[in-house]
Symmetry: C2
Subunit: 438 residues, 2 copies
Amino acid sequence: MALLSRNLTVLLQQNLRLVTPGCRYVSQTATKTESEFEYDAPSMKTPIPGPRSKNVGAINFFCNYEESRGNYLVDADGNRMLDLYTQISSVPLGYNHPALMKVLSSPSNLSAFINRPALGILPPENFPEKLTESLLSNKERGSNSPSAEETSSCMINQSPGCPDLSILSFMGAFHGRTMGCLATTHSKIIHKLDIPSFDWPIAPFPRLKYPLEEFVQENLQEEARCLEEKGKPVAGIVIEPIQAEGGDNHASADFFIKLRNIARKHGCAFHVDEVQTGGGATGKFWAHEHWGTNDPADIGYRIFNTWMGDPSKNLFLSEVLNVIRRENLLEEVTRSGKTLLHGLYELQGTFCAVDARDDVTRDNLLLKLRDKGKQEHTEKPNTHTRFSVFPHTPFLSSGVLLGGCGEKSIRFRPALIFKDYHAHLFLNIFNDVLSDHK
Amino acid sequence: MALLSRNLTVLLQQNLRLVTPGCRYVSQTATKTESEFEYDAPSMKTPIPGPRSKNVGAINFFCNYEESRGNYLVDADGNRMLDLYTQISSVPLGYNHPALMKVLSSPSNLSAFINRPALGILPPENFPEKLTESLLSNKERGSNSPSAEETSSCMINQSPGCPDLSILSFMGAFHGRTMGCLATTHSKIIHKLDIPSFDWPIAPFPRLKYPLEEFVQENLQEEARCLEEKGKPVAGIVIEPIQAEGGDNHASADFFIKLRNIARKHGCAFHVDEVQTGGGATGKFWAHEHWGTNDPADIGYRIFNTWMGDPSKNLFLSEVLNVIRRENLLEEVTRSGKTLLHGLYELQGTFCAVDARDDVTRDNLLLKLRDKGKQEHTEKPNTHTRFSVFPHTPFLSSGVLLGGCGEKSIRFRPALIFKDYHAHLFLNIFNDVLSDHK
């Protein structure tokens, strides 16, 4: 899937030429799904949003999560869609996985759902001891007690109590929307505009040229440019192994290892944000495992809040990990990712009919793709100007859900139970849509 | 409970004189609990932390949430404690309430727990339409499109794209620990020290003198002092109806109404933080209902994240509200709060034996109270210097859990199912502890 993302980015970021006009991808016969609990295929009954999703405002449509199964999301009108976006990549085993149903129906698990504890002070027995002294340490302060000036100035937000320390982040990065995280986010104007921020340093993220094998020297120089040090002292660096929200931007393992060494040299923390890339979708559990180093990142810890987590989510996490191991899902996604990638290469001819050179073109394409099949639908499209329908609005076409990212990229985020079968199913549908679109 | 908090603050903030030396509070006979599902009384088997909570680090002790019931928290060693702190006030119906067990065991609810949706784009059918146009509006920007300078400057954290707007907050306030919230928090040094912040204006919060009826004029002047305008333009004001973490500090309804008017006059948003005070513990569902105004606060909205909430928590919330109505819990907490308050007044003589004039005295008292009953216990007390055991560390004494807040206050945060019976039970135990302590 890492490859998939990287190469899909290629397809969209290059100004592709029409290699085989009118070429048509013919997928293998789609073998029946192995998951007994899900559906066989998409099934569209109404335009999207359907009559039961009227007045949706900023959202896409209403869903029926009870009826959704595996890779298929069902909406309020009974439309059943193959979901390659999975709630912005947050449903690892698809919908209503039987293993998770079992976790929930076990009487011994009820307490974890009902009695959400203040984990920081009153954890349940055997709760992992993650709050070790080493994690609670603070580099600048060390064991020094704060001075009177520090304690009084911090209460009114002033230095030296609240020091002028910064976090170095990268252009195109997305690390969240609360104010500290937002100061390290630089992916979209809509996230940033009108919100006060910190004057923290920002480095460029490599913009590699594809195919990688044809631009080895250029890409080396590009990565070296992004590693140039600006001389600004920072407390920490934060980076995504693949910039997701910013457009599925990749860099080499060599780039990350060099960056990690720079951080170590200056004694500043090196944080790897795996919110999108972690959990198995790259074929390894963490994307940073692809770097092949034993010391990929630091762990920072100085947080206290009321709950400090939710043990009921840990119950699910534990079962998700069991299913990943039991069903070899890391191997499975590597296989279905290759199928998907191969199919997309085959479709290049069809892709080429579409000028995806800039964001306007991409957005128009995505809108047309979403609106396909609802010609009879007269409702005005979502016209929020402040909240663009991209990147967080999946588009719909013949029952396939996808999301956009970056300026002109399409984001594939299928669940870990996405198989070869589903890849072929998608490729056949995509082929039809692209043929129609020409 | 609002009165309780206010008056309990009195008891601790005043330098009380010994009115009735050796007086002894004798509670009414504690009638048996009405809640069939909980226990009858505390039951202590080991010192706290017990052998199964060894090596607790920063936490207090490990809990057995399966065995906890109603107002009683059971620890890993089987010690059963009357809990007047309820996970920093976050367990409204106590532990393992049967109504919530029923919610969880209903098959039709399973989907809400397993399929956590991206609510902002794909909510379940009938999900309340909270994201209306009016809530999404932005006062400064209005309908003006951003300029090129604004869109480019916001991506690198600079004005005018990221404007120099501020939120006015109050000394002693606690609004959270993420960076934006933390800039409005001024309750404890430990929350603030070493973390970069914003240079935003801070107003004083009234420090009322008690008993209120004896200091009417002084308190009026004190509140007027806190309402003096500094001439700094702000985008919004945020305030707690009762400063909780900061020491259960109260102000009059008149103060809040005047502050709300000032906000309206300047066109800045007025936010009321009810995280601690909301949910019924003051005898009304929201503490700001005590102000008796129809326009207590503004609602601000410009947030998007992956989940935008958790429908499974809404299932519980809905049932919590049912139980509150069905069992008249708002009336019940008003009644048990009065019992508790009356009992504490009766105990004043005993209180007076303790000098609670400053934080050191209070902390020593609380430590001794917690350590009572574990004389045979040789483990060193928690010696983290960076993370004071107060205010978030409840103390233990003969099986009663309480928390501290502010500089020298004790925080009572019982569940909504805390009845007269429990108040008497607590008062009898507290009386014994205070007698011993003299």
